[in-house]
Amino acid sequence: MAGAGIYIHIPFCVRKCLYCDFFSVAAAESAVADYTDALCLEIRRMSAILPQREYDTVFLGGGTPSILIPEQIRTVMRTLRTHFSVRENAEISMECNPGTVTEAKLYGYREAGINRLSVGLQSADDGLLKRIGRIHTAEMFYQTAASVKKCGFVNFSADIMYGLPGQTEEQYLQTVRAAAETGAKHISSYSLILEEGTPLFGMVRSGAVRLPDEEATADMEDSGTALLERLGFSRYEISNYAKEGFRCRHNLNYWKNGEYVGFGPGAHSAMRRDGWTRWNCPRDIPSYLSAIRAGGLPDYESERIGTEEEMFETVMTGLRLCEGIPFEEFRQRFGCRLPDVYRDAIAKLKETGWLDPDAYAGGRLALNAKGLDLQNRALSFFLPE
């Protein structure tokens, strides 16, 4: 069994970006300290409950984890290592945003055991950054990237976005080039998804800002992928590109529908505990804190997943990967052959021409470029009627 992942959610931001629907709130210093204490207690209490596992990755996400000072990160990491069996060579990632870190801070994180950073660039255009509510400029990103390298981080990712309000294809390609030039080994490029309830949603609806249309966004994605490939970043997942050897192991585990445990409100977990089980901690900091202070655990929402659904999840996440799902991995997990379970769906994939035939011949179920573009439609073939 591959090693599991640990996710730690830091639900604080300096300011919320206009498009963001992740769980985070504006931070006060004392609140961050209280929260860190609570996290450590949750980690300790959960370790007594969860089955014994080896953990291969840790990911501190948010929000903006780099709001925490190195001392706090060190405490969290120490607690983790005390109570969970984290492998020596584990990938320990942390998200950080330009405008929240200094060289001293980055150095401190390194000391605390962080060995991979994921830096939010989003766009190399200051006008666009402002329009989507980011607190930094492109210049601040370059400075952060320089500091990251100076502090000894080799493995770092630049996170960028396309389909931003008023964005042109050239502006996006410029962002891709700028991200590559910093020496990042990994680039995540996500399209802006207009989520209901975000300020941007209202702005678009009222006509205050305009998003590029479907056609223009599709063009950006295609040219971006081509440019990234030319720059030596190979696409290994729908939205992720990496230099050889720098794929994100933590996210790969999600896409392989592996086991992971999350800490903090808004964090999700999946683990085989008396059957495949998912749970998540409600997005509510005060009740989280009071549950922990009362000596207990938060009121997780949990769900037992049946085998058929677990299979679908495995396909749903696995088909995001360019290499797809090896039949052998599927057989080891479920004791049956993937081509037998999904005979009809696979026939439809062949019919539509979305299947990668070479991968199939080599014992993997994978989508070709067209199939990746229309992944939702491809997955609908696998959903039960």
């Binding site: 996400g61 939205s239 999700h268 977990s269 998540n280 749903m316 229309l374 939702n376 439609r377 997955l379």
Partner: protein, 600 residues
């Protein structure tokens, strides 16, 4: 013992929407202790949700009240409420025929509105005493004296002594009660003569069956009597008679001059027709009361469940509505695009909207409806004649000699400054101008002959918007007229979509075809291939749009291990697919069929 006839007053209230009819009715019931204040729900008469929201009355209702006048006598008032829309003119006329008087409520801030006028004329035609009341005098912009003069000028009835009231606060409402006694005549009628009872409304009751709401003109009726409906010839045994106080209250008998209900284990309201006369089977009247008409649906459309699995639920719901609404007709039909549904017939557009809304609201159904159609008379080359209410059933052009369409006589009343824009509107709608009268210096009544198929879409809304809400209109069917009509079809990726076909005038085909094609382009989601949308008349393409092929359908977003969310999204997408209709190779969302109806 029968109530002394000279102490009975039967009346209705005529008012424009929002002029305060229901509020006044509530005050009258309060002042006569008909309902205890704690039981009062605002605007008691309008009991359907839709009526309350739209401020209109769809079904007539009646209430009995008792009032002690200054002469010391105790009077029985029967207030008959009337529906207030052009689709229900016939129902209004029957409700009026059940009364001796009408209380005309006019808003002191607005003056007489044209629609009120139509009903006042109807009341005068029925021989009713019209008693004006000026309402809303408490509002700062009220000008009761101006309104008094207007009533005298326009309607030609004295209004100097009209009560000036505020139905909202109750101010001077007492005067209305005493004037009803003084001005509205007591009913005539002979309790010993053969029974003649006018049905002015009917309602379905789960326990008692269809109830006929009647005004007894002559004779007496009681439980145990065998009655006959003179229009339909059907006979029933009376199980119960009673009055509205306002709840149904059983009484020993109903006699000449009284208003009440008759229960006779009648299975459906379709068997007790508004306007019909009830008499006794063994002591019948020689002829029925005048004015009975068989109400015919004029507007038709296909009604389909958005999810095909709900066909049976839709049928059950239509059956339930029909129990209470004899003017609703429906029969099963199938459409290649929409599957199984019903062809429904309505009195008019508002009636259609009300039924659709009730199906959605009260029965929780999601519907797809096709474009409303009228009944066309198709003359075939072989000399035969066909009545067509569904464009899909139109015979091939080669077999058609010529076609006729139904026409209406329309009366439009408007302040004179809007005459020009209304004439333009009527011309756009192929109206034929008849004449125009000045009913006062600044108010005009225009007469047009218009094709019914032009007014069933947006005529009313257009009229309202172009006259800033001041114009109103009233119409009645006036026969058929030869017309150059064509069937406009729409093809999606080469396949015809029957649910979108419409019959239109030849001159309308091109602009309509183009507008619908443009709209379809907006509402049909991108498919895996390019989809041409074509509008065609008789095989000739007159407009074309294209929906380009989809390029991306993927969630390019990270969910930090939140797989449940993505799973739900996919399931929702799949669920949405169920609500798609297949037209040949093209998936069309149910909403698309509805959106093309809202064009213009």
């Amino acid at each position: 013992m029968a109530y002394p006839r000279d102490l009975i007053r039967n009346f209705c209230i005529i008012a424009h929407i929002d002029h305060g009819k229901s509020t006044l009715a509530d005050r009258l019931m309060e002042l006569t202790d008909t309902v205890a204040e704690r039981d009062m729900e605002d605007q008691l008469l309008d009991s359907m949700d839709i009526e309350r929201e739209r401020g209109i009355t769809i079904k007539a209702t009646a209430v009995r009240m008792f009032y002690t006048h200054s002469d010391g006598k105790r009077y029985m008032f029967n207030l008959i409420d009337t529906p207030g829309h052009v689709d229900f003119t016939y129902e209004v006329s029957r409700a009026l025929a059940a009364c001796e008087g009408a209380v005309l409520v006019v808003d002191a801030t607005q003056g007489i509105e044209a629609q009120t006028l139509a009903n006042v004329y109807l009341a005068v035609d029925n021989g009713l005493e019209v008693m004006p009341v000026i309402n809303k005098i408490d509002l700062p912009s009220a000008d009761p004296d101006y309104v008094v003069n207007e009533i005298e000028d326009v309607i030609g009835i004295p209004a100097q002594d009209a009560p000036k009231i505020s139905a909202k606060s109750g101010q001077n409402v007492e005067q209305v009660l005493s004037q009803i006694v003084e001005l509205i005549p007591a009913p005539d009628g002979d309790p010993e003569a053969p029974l003649k009872a006018l049905i002015f409304d009917c309602v379905y009751d789960n326990y008692k069956g269809a109830l006929s709401f009647v005004r007894v003109m002559d004779g007496t009726v009681k439980a145990g009597d065998r009655i006959r409906s003179m229009g339909t010839g059907r006979e029933f045994d009376v199980t119960e008679v009673g009055v509205f106080s306002p709840a149904l209250t059983e009484t020993p008998e109903l006699t000449a001059g009284e208003v009440g209900y008759i229960a006779a284990s009648i299975k459906s309201v379709a068997e007790t027709k508004v306007g019909d006369t009830i008499t006794l089977a063994d002591y019948p009247a020689d002829k029925p009361l005048p004015g009975y008409k068989q109400v015919q649906p004029m507007v038709f459309c296909g009604v389909y469940p958005a999810d095909g699995a709900h066909y049976d639920d839709l049928r059950d719901a239509l059956e339930k509505l029909q129990l209470n609404d004899a003017s609703l007709s429906f029969e099963p039909e199938t459409s290649a695009a929409l599957g199984y549904g019903f062809r429904c017939g309505f009195l008019g557009l508002l009636h259609m909207e009300i039924i659709q809304e009730r199906l959605e609201r009260e029965f929780d159904l999601e519907l797809v409806t096709t474009a409303p159609s009228v009944i066309y008379k198709v003359h075939m080359t072989d000399g035969s004649e066909k009545m067509i209410d569904n464009p899909s059933n139109l015979p091939p052009v080669t077999e058609i000699d010529y076609m006729e369409e139904p026409m209406v006589r329309a009366n439009i009343m408007t302040p004179s400054q809007y005459v020009g824009t209304i004439m333009e509107l009527c011309q756009e709608k192929r109206g034929i101008f008849k004449d125009m009268d000045y009913i006062e210096k600044t108010r005009v009544e225009m007469h047009y002959t218009l094709p019914l198929n032009e007014i069933i879409y947006d005529f009313f809304d257009q009229l309202k918007s172009r006259s800033r809400g001041y114009a109103s209109f009233d119409y009645e069917l006036c026969g058929y007229m030869k017309s150059n009509l064509v069937k406009l079809d729409f093809l999606l990726n080469g396949d015809m979509c029957d649910a979108l076909s419409v019959i239109v005038h030849k001159d309308r085909a091109y602009p309509k075809g183009r507008a619908v094609a443009e709209k379809l382009k907006e509402v049909i989601p991108r498919q895996q291939f390019e989809v041409p949308i074509q509008a065609a008349v008789g095989g000739k393409i007159i407009a074309r749009e294209t929906v380009s092929a989809v390029r991306k359908d993927v969630l390019a977003k990270c969910y930090g291990g939140d797989i449940t969310r993505k799973k739900k999204l996919l399931e929702k997408q799949k669920e949405g697919k169920k609500r798609m209709r297949q037209v040949g190779t093209v998936s069309v969302p149910s909403e698309a069929f509805m959106s093309v109806l809202r064009i213009n």
